[in-house]
């Protein structure tokens, strides 16, 4: 127990001391997850909005597939991307395997279906409410996408935060395609896994604390946004 206590103390002092290696890992983690969230948002939000306002044959199958992809195991996603990016794979010439770029792709692939599915859920309710009014103003479903994305901005921000939370907490896919290379592709989750297996609990705990702080911060932001949206937009 005292070992655990001293490991925890050392972890706290590592965070507070501004340890360069630790902060490099944190910075890379945030860069990778934020970029992945941005890319996933550019695809997932419009896709979800379109699925909310359009009806076409095969839509139900697409929704089932998208919901299934929400539960895609990260290591499986990592494996598929690994094969695509490996030297003999179709995208091997890009030379992205074991780089932060590959990790961004992996996280973006993982969270795009999540963002699209949650966006559809949020905006479908909004579309139900707005559809007749917007049609009476001459707006068809395609033009409604922009209106819905803007009017759903507060709930959609919480959707984005959920996506970012999932990306930053993910370990399997970035381990497979990033390789956990020290100083290059090592992020918080892969470092925690490695340091724990090595028995270096202070560093693992320090990273765990930072990760928990980020997750807490994201949830607090989501909560605040929900409150603010009720106050501002009704």
């Amino acid at each position: 127990m005292s070992d655990l206590g001293s490991a925890f103390q050392q972890g706290v002092s590592l965070v507070l001391s501004g340890d360069a290696a630790l902060w490099a890992i944190i910075t890379l983690s945030l860069t990778v997850s934020l970029t992945a969230t941005l890319i996933a948002a550019c695809i997932g939000l419009p896709l979800g909005a379109l699925l909310a306002v359009t009806r076409f044959p095969g839509r139900q199958w697409l929704l089932v597939a998208m919901n299934a992809l929400m539960g895609l195991p990260p290591v499986v996603a990592g494996l598929v991307i690994y094969i695509l990016l490996s030297r003999s794979g179709p995208l091997g010439s890009l030379g992205l395997l074991f780089t932060p770029g590959a990790m961004i792709i992996a996280q973006a692939v993982l969270i795009t279906p999540i963002l699209a599915a949650l966006t559809r859920q949020v905006l479908e309710g909004l579309w139900e409410e707005y559809a007749e009014q917007l049609r009476s103003l001459g707006s068809g479903p395609w033009r409604a996408v922009g209106t819905l994305l803007w009017d759903g901005r507060f709930p959609l921000l919480t959707v984005l935060l959920a996506g970012f939370g999932r990306a930053s907490a993910e370990v399997g896919a970035v381990m497979v395609v990033g390789g956990n290379i020290e100083g290059f592709t090592r992020v918080m989750t892969t470092a925690i896994a490695l340091e724990t297996s090595k028995g270096d609990l202070p560093l693992a705990l320090a990273l765990g604390m930072v990760l928990m702080t980020i997750v807490l911060g994201v949830n607090a932001a989501a909560h605040w946004l929900r409150e603010a949206s009720a106050r501002w937009a009704g």
């Binding site: 409410e129 707005y130 009014q133 103003l137 001459g138 033009r143 501002w232 009704g234």
Partner: protein
């Protein structure tokens, strides 16, 4: 009589196998408001949606001249400011004239609420914002579907005053209501709808003094129409 601004020919509509409108034909001319009255379930709201082309008729057709706008019983405002709601409607119509926003808000007596979140206003204010949004499009025909059904008497008075002013300016008002008192206050012409059929159409004065049909007489007496 002037040429109709709106004409319905043999309109039929059914939903889920249930016929809601049967062969409804009429012409509506310019001038004082035309009020479509009738008990709940008569098909008034569906008829208005067919006239504004929000629903496709099962049979028949609608012909109209000029621009048109529609107001619903429950105003649906976007989650943005009052002014942004009107700006959005204008931009959908391809109109880039910011002056119209202030003008429309002036018209409904709410210029001081331009920057307020629209959905946090009272029900009456929201309906007036919806009216401003519709009037900003400068419609030739304005359809109103029971616009005061969920409002208190003061808000109802405010909405009726705006509608009356718009009508005096030449906007053709086509409005549904099940409130006979309101019909008496506003109507230049009455169309009585019952069970999906047009029972009677004529000038309001003669409709109220000399109703032609048994249904109209019963409706005016306040009987429950079968």
């Amino acid at each position: 009589m002037s040429a109709p601004v709106l004409r319905a020919e043999g309109l039929c509509f059914a939903a889920g196998g249930v016929a809601i409108l049967h062969d409804v034909s009429f012409g509506i001319g310019p001038g004082a408001p035309s009020l479509i009255i009738g008990p709940n379930g008569a098909g008034k709201s569906v008829l208005l949606r067919l006239l504004h082309r929000l629903l496709p008729p099962g049979a028949g057709q609608v012909a109209s001249t000029g621009a048109q706008a529609m107001l619903f019983q429950k105003p649906v405002l976007l989650r943005r400011s009052v002014a942004a709601n009107i700006a959005h409607a204008l931009s959908l119509a391809g109109i880039r004239d910011a002056g119209r926003i202030a003008e429309a808000l002036e018209e409904v007596g709410l210029p001081h609420l331009a920057g307020r979140p629209a959905r946090l206003l009272s029900g009456g204010e929201q309906q007036r914002v919806a009216l401003a949004r519709a009037l900003a499009l400068r419609p030739d025909i304005l359809f109103l579907d029971e616009p005061t059904a969920s409002l208190d008497p003061a808000a109802t008075r405010a909405v009726e005053a705006i509608v009356t002013r718009a009508a005096a300016r030449g906007v053709k008002i086509v409005m549904t209501t099940h409130d006979l008192h309101q019909a008496r206050r506003l109507a230049g012409e009455i169309l009585l709808l019952h069970r999906g059929r047009l029972i009677e159409q004529g000038p309001a004065a003669s409709f109220f003094s000399q109703p032609q049909s048994a249904e109209a007489r019963a409706f005016l007496r306040g009987d429950i129409l079968e």
